[in-house]
Point group: C2
Chain length 331, copies 2
């Protein structure tokens, strides 16, 4: 492991770190639009503002954290390159950020990762290494890599203050564009996006909710039990939300998130189809969880002004999970 994880001033996430991240990464990112839809407002009985991170570079908010982390490397660290383990959006984001900044990127990808996500990573000229699926192979790879090439920095997918701060810039842009929001809602996987969003929302006096699929409810369990619970078997369609929380993300969620809301697979697919139709956006299942939750839990959302972060759009458009027979969206 290199010293990257211990850069001064990045010991824990704070609002200032997110504000500085925004300045640093602005030249590299897409300032994604905030969209509205009268149709969706009517379904939800609330005023919805969608921050479209599916239109971010590499098709996901992950690019924000990745480029932010790389910008904190020293010149020497840059020369030695970076690596990560990712089945999807973080790998592509790091590969693209590395390509822009001239930093060599190696990505270990589980053999069973979706083809469209592997192709996305490969399109940015990263070195790809296939590994077995699961946490054990992942940890093995990281340790082996650190032993064999100690100069190459590990860029974790979510559990680091610089990553969390980068992801928080999406919410920062959103609340600057729409300062009168009552609530922010994001998907919850490892907690990178949610922790950054929670820090921003909390500073503005907004409620903040995370959303998980019932089939990947380890985050909800973690908050209930007060300790990080392991990820569940990867059965949910939301392939971006299958990881467990981290040491850095968990405490932020404990103190700054109102609650984690759970949605079913059917509700996710119905929400996804509805969002595609109304917003004219290709979003991945993970992103649809937020709209599903806003419809399912009117006690938290009805009549309010709600910022929803659409986290990504990396889905194979030829392999869609609908039509669903009943949308089941009206609360």
């Amino acid at each position: 492991m290199t010293g990257w994880q211990h850069i001064a001033g990045s010991d824990a996430l704070n609002l200032n770190l997110i504000q500085r991240a925004e300045k640093l990464i602005t030249p590299y990112i897409v300032h994604t639009p905030v969209l509205q839809s009268p149709t969706l407002n009517e379904i939800a009985g609330a005023e919805l503002f969608f921050k479209c991170e599916n239109l971010q570079k590499t098709g996901a908010f992950k690019f924000r954290g990745a480029v932010h982390a790389l910008l904190h490397l020293t010149a020497e660290q840059r020369q030695h390159g970076v690596f990560t383990v990712s089945s999807g959006n973080h790998g592509a984001a790091l590969a693209a950020a590395g390509a822009i900044l001239g930093i060599a990127v190696k990505v270990a990808v589980p053999k069973n990762a979706p083809a469209v996500k592997k192709a996305n990573i490969a399109s940015y000229q990263a070195e790809i290494v296939e590994i077995e699926p699961g946490m054990a192979a992942r940890e093995n790879f990281i340790h082996e890599q650190a032993r064999n090439d100690a100069q190459r920095s590990f860029i974790p997918p979510y559990d680091h203050p610089l990553i969390m701060a980068g992801q928080g810039t999406a919410a920062l842009e959103l609340v600057k564009a729409e300062p009168e929001l009552d609530v922010l809602v994001t998907p919850l996987g490892g907690g990178g996006l949610l922790s950054g969003t929670a820090m921003v929302g909390h500073s503005q006096g907004m409620d903040v909710f995370g959303v998980e699929p019932e089939l990947a409810s380890d985050g909800w369990h973690s908050l209930q039990t007060g300790s990080i619970q392991p990820a569940l078997p990867p059965t949910s369609i939301c392939d971006g939300l299958l990881t467990s929380l981290g040491q850095h993300t968990f405490p932020v969620l404990q103190t700054m998130v109102n609650n984690v809301l759970l949605v079913s697979e059917t509700e996710v697919v119905a929400a996804m189809q509805t969002l595609w139709q109304a917003l004219k956006l290709v979003i991945e299942p993970s992103s649809a969880t937020v709209f599903a939750a806003v419809c399912k839990y009117p006690q938290h959302f009805r009549g309010k002004r709600i910022g929803l972060i659409l986290s990504g759009g990396n889905v194979d458009v030829t392999q869609l999970p609908w039509p669903v027979t009943q949308l089941e969206l009206h609360p």
Copy 2:
């Protein structure tokens, strides 16, 4: 017919009319984003800038022209309401613009119009009248309406300088955001979007191309023969491009458009799938024609900076025309 069509200063399209339209409609429209994709740039061998009118209100650029036309009505004309004939995006656009401005809207819809487009119109509380498909029924309805309710203004779908000027504001926004473009490309149906775009592009010294499906090539034939040719039977998947040119749009195209390019149905579907996958946008077949043409005719586009207007996103996301076996996009 009312006097609406003869308002002073709107006898013919000119750049000033488009510039004034932009100021007038800005409070009502979405300032749609301009997106780029390295993947699509590589496929096309050019630098592409996509103006995302699928993200416009009602899911199409048509809202620009409709709200612009309504803003030119007198107070008395507003009170008497408006009507149009439209199987799709213009009807929805007029309905939505009328709802915002408090103007009653009646839309005659051919019985065979796509369900998703009829539902779109209905969602804006317009009065819907079903008529038989075809030009004869359309003309009949307009004349009957004019006879029975002479106070109600007819708002044509494309063939009027105020409509054309409203549609031209999309290109105006695009060239303001990206002043160094070499070429503008739009789909060609009745010529409302293309004439407004051509006026803007021409004023900036840019080349301007329209694109039609081979199965709806009446515009191309019109320019070849020097007279407006009737629409072909509606067999193309591009349901927004099936109309013939109009008396107002045709002369603008004759003087300010470099050429009309033709693409096959297969090319349209391949382009559509590729655009959904790379841009994370839901766009309708008509919009995909422009990318298909940029790939098919490298002699006009390779190595250049190209503005493409993605005209709309009103497509049933549960009824998709792919996968196609071979993308056939590489020139």
